[in-house]
């Protein structure tokens, strides 16, 4: 388990902002994997949206590509 106390925010803005970009990309990747997993286990979009704390419409808009990707494989 990741100990958040071990996270250090660099004082150099360039490094700190680079970390923000990398974290967003990591989060997006984790989100797509989790949604793919949820859909394959039969979760409806309403449940996925609730778990992500967003509306069903927002979840579908942002992540419908995951479903399209699953159906094409």
């Amino acid at each position: 388990m990741l100990d958040l106390h071990t996270i250090t925010v660099p004082t150099d803005p360039e490094e700190a902002l680079a970390a923000v970009v990398a974290l967003r990309r990591l989060a997006d990747n984790i989100e797509r994997q989790a949604v793919r997993s949820a859909l394959s286990q039969g979760w409806p979009w309403s449940r996925i949206a609730q778990a992500l704390g967003i509306t069903k419409q927002a979840a579908h808009k942002r992540l419908s590509g995951v479903a399209a990707d699953m159906s094409s494989t």
Partner: protein, 168 residues
């Protein structure tokens, strides 16, 4: 006049190929909208070969750019104490509708369009020169991760453009 029209038509074909390749690289990178780093990868795919030549002029291996992009993400996470390698997933499907680039990608497209008042064909080296001129962002960090001095790369790309324009 005919030469100018021919050049414009060639440029349109180059822009189309550049945008398509940038989108493909973005989707492989699991991003919907191509950024400057994806346009740089796309420039290396252009058949004129001038983008690859610019890299080679500064002693950089063009085919190592993709790995350098990945490495700068891992380096950025490591800088905050997080060791996480994001495994390459399946490419994203293309987004239907109008072509959209990320902010850094839009900047490259806008600067390319603005620079089209210059004579001469649009070359991969034009894209390299523009991307190398960006001081911040994923593309700039990737070039540094590749061990490339962006200023040198920009000079090399601009010199290649000058030679090509003098020949045209």
């Amino acid at each position: 006049m005919f030469q100018g029209l021919k050049s414009k038509l060639n440029d349109m074909g180059t822009v189309k190929l550049l945008c398509e390749r940038a989108e493909t690289h973005a989707l492989l990178d699991q991003q919907r909208e191509p950024g400057a780093e994806h346009f740089l990868l796309a420039a290396l795919d252009l058949p004129d070969g001038t983008a690859r030549l610019a890299f080679e002029k500064v002693g950089a291996e063009p085919d190592a750019l993709k790995a350098a992009i990945e490495r700068q993400y891992a380096d950025a996470l490591r800088a905050i104490g997080l060791a996480a390698d994001v495994p390459a997933g399946t490419p994203m499907p293309a987004k239907p509708g109008l072509y959209q680039a990320a902010s850094s990608g839009r900047e490259i497209m806008q600067e390319l369009a603005a620079g089209r008042k210059d004579h001469g064909p649009l070359l991969g080296a034009h894209v390299v020169g523009l991307v190398a001129g960006m001081s911040h962002g994923v593309a700039a960090r990737s070039l540094r991760a590749l061990g490339v001095d962006p200023a040198h790369l920009k000079s090399a790309a601009d010199a290649i453009v000058d030679v090509a324009q003098a020949k045209a």
